[in-house]
């Protein structure tokens, strides 16, 4: 099982690297938003209740990471759906590969890509003047939480792929990425969001992942927000991963 999962993860990574047109949007779109949000809302930190931060760029880094990982989840779903459409998935199913490895392999690859995504934004942040208050341990916590978040969003993408079975439907989810981001505290402090975004954000796991990624950057490694971030990511992994396994089983039964 482990060997099959790692082999499938390596294959998924190789395929992703061969098609940079799929990977580029994961970095380009969030980087563009990071630039525009930071430049356009530079004075937002002066708002009463914003909290003490070195700059709006520091605050926005977690938003860019979260957005990028969400897009990574959609990309993992599209890649899976393309394999289903192209027939490769059926060939895998016909082989003696354990069923769960089909899911776990792709999720390991998504987690590995998440490391690269988080590092990208940390480096961009440092180049443009952000400070990581938590230092090296803080950066490591951000990367680790990024892996958990990336795997969780990848599980959502795979669940969609197993249910939809075609890439265009999964691609149609793209605008929803922004909807769930806008009703979270990824871009702005929860207390300053307008209603109804403010109260939806309280129940949105994305808020806790974004806050968990943000805490080591703007304040330091504080157990509360970081542990909440890990708990939210784990919740997504368990729920979405569980439903994805069920969807996979249903799909195999139909086949």
């Amino acid at each position: 099982m482990i060997r099959a999962s790692l082999a499938l993860a390596a294959r998924a990574l190789r395929t992703s690297l061969r098609r940079p047109q799929f990977l580029a949007p994961l970095l380009l779109f969030p980087s563009m938003f990071l630039a525009v949000n930071t430049g356009g809302m530079a004075r937002a930190t002066e708002l009463p209740g914003f909290g003490d931060v070195n700059g709006f760029l520091d605050f926005q880094l977690a938003a860019a990471m979260t957005q990028s990982m969400l897009l990574g989840g959609v990309t993992a779903g599209i890649a899976t759906a393309l394999e289903i459409e192209g027939g490769f998935f059926d060939r895998l199913v016909a082989s003696p590969v354990p069923r769960a490895a089909l899911l776990v392999g792709r999720l390991i690859a998504t987690g590995a890509i998440a490391v690269f995504q988080v590092l990208w934004f940390l480096v961009i942040g440092l180049i443009f003047g952000a400070e990581i208050e938590g230092g090296v341990p803080g950066a490591l916590v951000v990367i680790l939480l990024g892996i958990f978040g990336g795997i969780g969003f990848g599980a959502i993408g795979m669940l969609l792929a197993f249910r939809a079975k075609n890439a265009s439907t999964v691609q149609g989810i793209f605008p929803l990425v922004f909807v769930v981001l806008f009703v979270s505290s990824a871009f702005f402090p929860r207390d300053l969001l307008q209603s109804p975004a403010s109260w939806i954000a309280d129940y949105n796991p994305l808020s806790y992942i974004a806050d968990g990624l943000r805490e080591p950057i703007i304040r330091g490694v504080n157990a509360g927000p970081v542990l909440e971030g890990f708990a939210a990511a784990l919740l997504i992994i368990v729920v979405a991963g569980g439903f994805a396994l069920l969807a996979l089983r249903n799909r195999l039964r139909e086949a």
Binding site: G39, G40, A42, A44, F182, V183, F187, F188, Q194, P196
Partner: protein, 256 residues
């Protein structure tokens, strides 16, 4: 071909593009939905920014409506390029080229269809904004805003045509969309120029779309002034001249 025949070709191509909305209404949904999500989402997230000193709108939602309208026009322009790429892939465009219509007439037909289609997201966003309590400053300002939206969609459609004719594949769609998206966001989209970070204020001041956006904003924020109007129309003229020239050059080269 006579002028009347050319006009008939332009009308036929525009009608064909409009027919797509009726035949495949689902295809028009992303172009309407995406700017609406951004407009409502951004005002929910950054709404408190209107409390900043120097923010010259009553609320953030009013300030961001014109951004949504231009995004709708931008997406429509990019979609026109994607549709042209699809026609190239399927061979339909080759059949058009073998017809007697001059190439520039074909281009005008394709681009003018974008202007008409841009009215759909703009109207939807206006109705949504009104339902959410946004006020319109003046009816002439609103008429001008719709005119600007149509011309902006035409300019972005020219860009879409350049990319479609250069690459001949729908896979080039992100290139069409990201330019439309970035050109609108690297302006005074989020805040007045005085509140932008220095580097973004510098980009916004040389980005012609800033003046286009401020032209649309007259309908909701400032009220109609001659100064903002001619700046917007001049910026649009420059955009149309630059991108239209590129599209005409590509049209002349294609298939030869």
């Amino acid at each position: 071909m006579t002028a009347a025949q050319n006009l008939r070709v332009i009308l036929a191509l525009s009608r064909r593009a409009l027919n797509e909305i009726l035949r495949v209404p689902g295809g028009a949904i992303p172009g309407v939905l995406a700017p609406a999500i951004f407009m409502v989402g951004l005002s929910g997230v950054f709404g408190a920014a209107s409390q900043l000193p120097g923010f010259d709108a009553s609320d953030f939602r009013t300030f961001i409506v014109p951004v949504g309208m231009l995004q709708g026009a931008g997406f429509t322009g990019a979609a026109t390029g994607v549709n042209l790429a699809r026609d190239i892939e399927r061979g339909w465009f080759d059949r058009l080229l073998t017809g007697p219509a001059p190439r520039i007439v074909l281009l005008i037909g394709i681009v003018s269809s974008a202007s008409l289609r841009a009215l759909l997201p703009a109207t939807f966003l206006l109705l949504l904004a009104l339902a959410l309590g946004v006020h319109v400053q003046s009816v002439p300002g609103l008429v001008l805003a719709f005119l600007i939206v149509m011309l902006f969609a035409a300019a972005l459609a020219c860009w879409g045509c350049v990319v479609a004719l250069r690459f001949g594949t729908q896979q080039a769609a992100p290139l069409m969309q990201i330019v439309a998206f970035a050109s609108i966001l690297f302006t005074t989209a989020y805040a007045p120029e005085a509140l932008l970070a220095g580097w973004l204020a510098d980009i916004a001041s040389v980005n012609p779309v800033t003046y286009v956006l401020e032209g649309v904003r007259q309908a909701f924020v400032y009220g109609l002034t001659w100064d903002r109007t001619w700046h917007a129309l001049l910026a649009l003229a420059l955009l149309l001249l630059a991108l239209g020239s590129g599209a005409i050059a590509m049209m002349r080269r294609v298939g030869r």
